[in-house]
């Protein structure tokens, strides 16, 4: 017996709108039961990619298969087997929670009862509000309802376009916990997000910017692609330290990262411990008496900034 096809295969996909490339030569493969992230800012091509994968848009070049089905030729078969959550809130605000769910079940020729086992872990959290209008739900609950609507027909793959955008940090964390549960049940999931800190919840990620993939790998391997020794800098006068670090001769990068600064040194082959000692001594000499510098492992956001080659809003 031949093994089942990969849940998702994308080969050389390209799409141009009004002379502007929204997707350029995008290729990747999603493995069985994988939680795969498309990570990058707005304008990266994530939504265009999802629209092609859900058969709503034809690619200009390349090909893609979902569950072994071709996105151009087999559109009806794909639509029945894919669970899709679009980026914009796509439920009926004037219908209740239960009515929305019932509607999506009916569209796919099933019922809430038949799909209940699949949605139960999520639906139980919003079931107390089942008579409330969807438009009156909080952001986090809307996302959970939309996820239920994408799952109620028991799809074989889940495609989620920025489910956590504009959602508070607590609801985002809960949402990713739910995705972890779905993944454990064997469901392959492709999820787009602009939040770099969410990348760590994925098995593998593709960093996307301006229609291209910058890198594909596990989050930790993406971090280790950062091309320079990286140190964390802490101290009271953070902004002044940032300015000082930017003025150094060997600075590859200097950025604020929450409550510390990340400094990458441009000199190749210098051990990170040596960089840390040198920077700390240098900052002390500059009058930053409380500066503390430590070697750190680069994360996804460090690598993204190194690979993106300057801000999108550059002169």
């Amino acid at each position: 017996m031949t093994p089942p096809p990969p849940p998702l295969v994308v080969e050389g996909l390209g799409k141009t709108f009004e002379g502007r490339a929204a997707l350029e030569n995008v290729s990747f493969t999603v493995r069985p039961a994988e939680l795969f992230g498309l990570v990058g800012p707005d304008g990266g091509g994530k939504t265009t990619l999802f629209r092609i994968l859900t058969t709503l848009l034809l690619p200009d070049t390349g090909r893609a298969t979902v569950l072994g089905l071709d996105v151009v030729r087999d559109l009806w078969a794909i639509r029945a087997r894919v669970g899709y959550m679009p980026g914009r809130f796509s439920l009926y605000p004037d219908l209740s929670v239960e009515e929305n769910l019932g509607f999506f079940a009916a569209v796919f020729g099933t019922s809430i009862g038949e799909g209940y086992d699949t949605i139960a872990p999520i639906y139980r959290q919003i079931e107390p509000f089942r008579t409330r209008r969807a438009g009156a739900l909080s952001g986090g609950m809307k996302q959970k309802l939309a996820l239920c609507c994408a799952l109620v027909h028991r799809p074989d793959i889940l495609l989620l376009d920025e489910p956590t955008t504009g959602v508070d940090a607590v609801s985002r964390r809960e949402f990713w916990d739910l995705l972890g549960g779905l993944k454990a049940s064997g469901l392959p999931i492709v999820v787009a997000t602009p939040y770099m800190d969410e990348a760590d919840r994925c098995d593998r990620i593709a960093l996307m910017q301006r229609g291209r993939i910058l890198a594909i790998d596990t989050p930790s391997a993406i971090g280790s692609r950062f091309p320079h020794p990286l140190v964390s800098v802490r101290g009271e006068r953070r902004y002044a330290m940032l300015q000082a670090l930017r003025g150094r001769e060997h600075t590859a990068s200097a950025f604020p990262f929450g409550d510390d600064l990340h400094y990458g040194d441009a000199r190749a082959g210098l051990p990170v411990e040596a960089v840390a000692r040198e920077i700390e001594a240098w900052l002390l000499a500059k009058g930053f008496a409380d500066a503390r510098v430590e070697p750190i492992s680069p994360g996804v956001e460090d690598t993204f900034m190194a690979l993106m080659g300057g801000p999108e809003a550059a002169a």
């Binding site: 990058g40 800012p41 707005d42 304008g43 909080s138 952001g139 986090g140 955008t165 504009g166 959602v167 508070d168 940090a169 607590v170 609801s171 985002r172 964390r173 602009p194 939040y195 770099m196 800190d197 910017q209 902004y239 950025f255 604020p256 990262f257 929450g258 409550d259 956001e301 993204f304 900034m305 993106m308 300057g310 801000p311 999108e312 809003a313 002169a315």
Partner: protein, 242 residues
């Protein structure tokens, strides 16, 4: 000068639902203040009252020294506002947006020309002055929207999720714009869902169910809650049962 923002027992009810429940806080002039909270905690309602778009049910607030209920026109003249969702008109050019907002903010034509020119130069956008805003990358739009909100040199600028979806480098550059404005004395009142950005604020408040559950400098809040990160503080407050 007194506090830039001063809210005393500020309350707003919608029918039986209390969206903002007697919040009291002060923001100092020149401070970068992060106004955090879960979706539905009451942040938007509070901001709408502070910018004079919604009358409080009870309590009071002063912004830039004026009462938001009885002197809302004075308040509006002294504040700037930008949000992720609504900032500039896509179908107008960069220059037309600047002119339009300059007029709305009550600047004279000569002032609009002079400040508009300085603004575009400062952003390095001079070459794109006659491009439609729709053609700009998102990061540019947000930086421009912020500069436009600062055109009339407001005492307080309200920034409602200003960096949503913006690339990580532009996001950081945007915060440097905020710092620069604060250094010139403008008070920045910011909402964000990026927890690293909460760290960039002088002080933050965290709203839960219409009330301010915590308020202080990021380092102090982490100490107070014995939490390694602000996200952990946030999670603990917003989901006490979890």
């Amino acid at each position: 000068m007194s506090a830039a923002i001063e809210a005393r027992e500020l309350t707003r009810r919608f029918g039986a639902f209390t969206a903002v429940d007697s919040i009291t806080f002060e923001v100092r002039a020149g401070e970068v203040f992060g106004f955090l909270g879960a979706n539905g905690a009451g942040k938007t309602t509070a901001i709408r009252m502070l910018i004079g778009l919604l009358a409080p049910t009870s309590g009071a607030a002063r912004v830039a020294g004026f009462d938001v209920l009885t002197q809302s026109e004075e308040v509006r003249r002294r504040i700037g506002y930008m949000s992720q969702r609504f900032s500039l008109y896509d179908d107008l050019t960069v220059r037309e947006n600047v002119t339009l907002y300059g007029g709305i903010y009550g600047l004279a034509d000569a002032e609009i020309r002079e400040r508009g020119g300085t603004l575009l130069e400062g952003l390095g956008l001079g070459h794109a002055a006659d491009d439609r805003v729709a053609a700009l990358p998102l990061g540019w739009k947000q930086k421009l929207a912020f500069s436009v909100a600062m055109l009339h040199q407001p005492a307080v600028v309200f920034l409602d999720e200003p960096t949503g979806g913006v690339d990580p480098i532009t996001r950081r550059q945007f915060w440097e714009q905020i710092y620069a404005a604060a250094a010139r004395g403008t008070t920045a009142f910011v909402t964000t869902h990026y927890m690293d950005e909460a760290e960039y604020c002088d002080r933050i408040s965290i709203m839960v169910d219409g009330r301010i559950a915590a308020l202080g400098a990021p380092a102090d809040l982490k100490r107070e809650f014995a939490a390694p990160s602000l996200e952990d503080v946030f999670v603990r407050l917003a989901r006490p049962a979890a």
